[in-house]
């Protein structure tokens, strides 16, 4: 083993850099769009919110910035942040580096809820709420079954997660089968691919509360999650009620996943790839890992969404893009040699 001197950036510096990158990415995203808003006008519009500036831009520019671009940028950041926070959290509580936000069925439950709502009623609010509720119910069911499993609870959770997920996937397939192929089926398919297109302020407001409700406890409890990765018994002898802590963390992670998936559809890979990327940067200690992972997730999804909304005149579903970026990265992760994480 080559003992090269490891000179790693201190955690504080890493987070500062990431934060600056995030701010930069947000500013950049504000400037990017199919509708051209020159920097001078952009600055003018932004300043006009604080000072009185004589408008020298057209109304559409302002509308595009605040009604179309801003909600979408914010949602991309939030969803990216939530998905990678949830992935990071699930990986810890399930002691499994390959865990992703959908491991306990949050996504497949949401997909079924959304498909069902599309089948019965095309109102977009119904779809969001149904996806959210089904997502939470699915994970509740998984926890219920997992807690009743004999032997190692974590394994029971993962197994029942896989089982219930595939059950709901089958149910979603059935809904797709009976859906009207001329309008419902494309809507379901599109939802399953995940997209932030047409983000409305209302959706943002709907999602932000459960997201905050999950993210804040995850941030506060982040150092404790470390001890869960050692197993229940060891955690308990160190004074941590592992079962209770795990349940709280799972609830929080599920809440943010459900909120994200219900407004954005299925966006895969973020919650698996970004935590590993963050582990590489700041190590496995959740005290550092969780914030780094959150910021990195926000940056990542924001940048990918920029591609999704700028590359072509038609939207490219972001779920497809994240898969295209995520899969090669994942292959790199599992084939690379070296230290285990």
């Amino acid at each position: 083993m080559g003992m090269k001197k490891r000179k790693k950036l201190p955690y504080g510096t890493v987070v500062l850099i990431l934060f600056i990158l995030l701010v930069g990415a947000v500013i950049l995203s504000f400037m990017l769009g199919r509708y051209p808003v020159p920097p001078r006008e952009l600055l003018g519009i932004l300043l006009s919110k604080v000072f009185t500036v004589e408008p020298f831009w057209n109304d559409t520019m302002e509308l595009v910035l605040f009604n179309i671009r801003l909600p979408r940028i914010l949602l991309a950041c939030l969803v990216g942040c939530c998905l990678s926070a949830a992935g990071t959290a699930y990986q810890g509580v399930l002691q499994n580096p390959m865990a992703a936000p959908d491991i306990l069925g949050a996504s497949s439950g949401a997909a079924f809820g959304a498909a069902l709502a599309i089948l019965f009623n095309r109102n977009s609010w119904t779809v969001i709420i149904s996806a959210f509720v089904f997502s939470l119910m699915t994970v509740a069911l998984v926890i219920f079954i997992g807690e009743r499993s004999r032997g190692k609870k974590v394994l029971g959770l993962i197994l029942s997660g896989i089982m219930i997920s595939s059950l709901f996937s089958a149910a979603t397939s059935f809904v797709k089968l009976v859906a009207d192929p001329s309008n419902q089926l494309p809507a379901i398919t599109y939802w399953l691919m995940g997209s932030l297109a047409g983000t409305k302020r209302g959706e943002l407001l709907f999602a932000v509360f459960p997201m905050a409700g999950g993210l804040i406890p995850l941030l506060l409890l982040r150092w404790r999650i470390n001890v869960l990765t050692l197993g229940d018994d060891e955690a308990r002898t160190m004074g941590v009620n592992a079962a209770a802590l795990r349940t709280i963390v799972i609830i929080c992670a599920t809440l943010v996943t459900a909120a994200s998936v219900s407004v954005s559809g299925m966006i895969g890979w973020v919650g698996l790839v970004i935590p590993h990327f963050a582990r590489r940067m700041v190590g496995n200690n959740y005290k550092h890992l969780m914030p780094a992972s959150m910021i990195l997730g926000a940056i990542f999804l924001l940048l990918v969404d920029n591609v999704s909304r700028n590359l072509l005149a038609m939207e490219i579903p972001i779920g497809i893009l994240t898969a295209f970026i995520g899969a090669p990265f994942f292959i790199y992760l599992i084939t690379r040699e070296g230290e285990r994480y």
């Binding site: 990017l32 051209p36 109304d59 109102n123 409305k200 209302g202």
Partner: protein, 378 residues
């Protein structure tokens, strides 16, 4: 150490690639930007045949009151039904398409219209529409036409608030097309043109009803078969079977008529049980190979040659999408099934429709090509 460097490099690369992407985009932006500002100026000059109108309040068919500009010159349909209907009354106002024209339309439509930018279905589902792209087209109106979904008013309100573009829903069925065109005439400042189209629709509709009344009990027993194998039927009383039910005796009676455009799936035995006098095949059925199959040969309609295929161009004449082009079906189907009761020349009539609705001259050759298998060959 290596891994860490790699990670940082990757992150930096992501940012960099976007920056360059932005840089590349900028000349493009410059080219587009002035175009937008020119829009209002350009719109007032040509084609303003009607006297200038004041802005007004329009009440759409879901009861929403919206402010509409007096001079309308840029509109966008929200979906294919609206696209077809609007193309008839104001093709030059359409600045973006909900769905691409079928390639066959290349021979029918003006290149200017055929090559319009496609933005996708705006209304229905979360959709693939890039709202900024829509804003870039700067339409004054988004027009939704068809049968309303329960949430249409709320959805259009949201869309209008989000994009700042006035959204209007107009309720339309086959029978109400005359009213639809009068309404569109008022909305777009094209009253005269709207009235012409309304009268045309009324005339065709009334004449078709007359023919059917004369046919009376002699209506043909018919099945409408679709799907690649021809094993789906549009069942009686289903939404998409409206035209079939109106003009024929649809023998496909099932317990639960499907509301889907793909109809009800059945098997050969069921088809043989129905064994109608005539079979109408959807455009996608490959007729040549299908009618040679022994199983289909057992069908009376096939062995006797009593089968026809729905013409397609630029859309299915019997529906899909169920828009105004179904009037082509109202002209063609009676001519195909009840030639003894029909006193018009199908080509002349169809050509008139093409002139009015597609603004194009339909040549005899193209007509023959489109209707190749669409009349019973004796």
């Amino acid at each position: 150490m290596k891994n860490r460097i790699l990670a940082y490099t990757l992150a930096a690369l992501m940012i960099l690639s976007l920056l360059t992407g932005c840089a590349k985009e900028s000349p493009n932006e410059d080219a587009v930007a002035p175009d937008v500002s020119q829009v209002p100026a350009e719109s007032e000059a040509p084609g303003a045949t009607e006297p200038a109108r004041e802005d007004f309040v329009f009440t759409d068919d879901c009861g929403r009151q919206v402010e509409v500009q007096g001079e309308i010159s840029r509109i966008v349909p929200t979906g294919p039904i609206a696209q077809i209907a609007l193309f008839a009354i104001a093709p030059e106002m359409i600045v973006g398409l909900a769905s691409e024209w079928d390639s066959i339309a290349k021979d029918i439509l003006d290149a200017e219209y055929y090559n319009l930018p496609q933005i996708g279905h705006i209304y229905g589902g979360k959709g693939e529409v890039n709202l900024e792209e829509l804003a870039l087209l700067a339409p004054q109106l988004l027009i939704d036409i068809g049968e309303a979904k329960s949430s249409v008013a709320e959805d259009l309100d949201t869309l209008q608030e989000q994009t700042g573009i006035t959204c209007v829903h107009i309720e339309a069925t086959l029978e109400t097309m005359p009213q639809v065109y009068r309404k569109l005439g008022r909305l777009l400042g094209r009253e005269e043109r709207g009235e012409d189209l309304a009268e045309y629709c009324q005339r065709i509709y009334d004449r078709t009803m007359d023919i059917i009344n004369q046919v009376g009990d002699n209506r043909a027993d018919v099945l409408y078969c679709l799907g690649p194998e021809g094993l789906n039927v549009l069942a009686k009383d289903s939404y998409h079977a409206e035209l079939i039910d109106m003009l024929t005796n649809n023998v496909a009676v099932v317990d639960e008529p499907s509301s889907k455009g793909t109809g009800n799936e059945v098997d050969m035995e069921q088809l043989l049980l129905w064994n109608p006098d005539y079979i109408i095949f959807a455009p996608e059925v490959s007729l040549d190979s299908l009618v040679k199959e022994p199983s289909w040969q057992q069908m009376k309609a096939i062995s006797q040659g009593n089968y026809i295929k729905v013409p397609f161009g630029p859309f299915n004449w019997m529906g899909m999408p169920p828009s105004v082009q179904r009037y082509l079906g109202l002209i063609w189907l009676p001519a195909a099934l009840y030639p003894d009761y029909v006193d018009y020349d199908a080509y002349e009539e169809i050509a008139e429709y093409f002139r009015l609705f597609y603004h194009s001259e339909l040549s005899r050759e193209l007509f023959d090509e489109l209707t190749q298998n669409s009349f019973i060959q004796k």
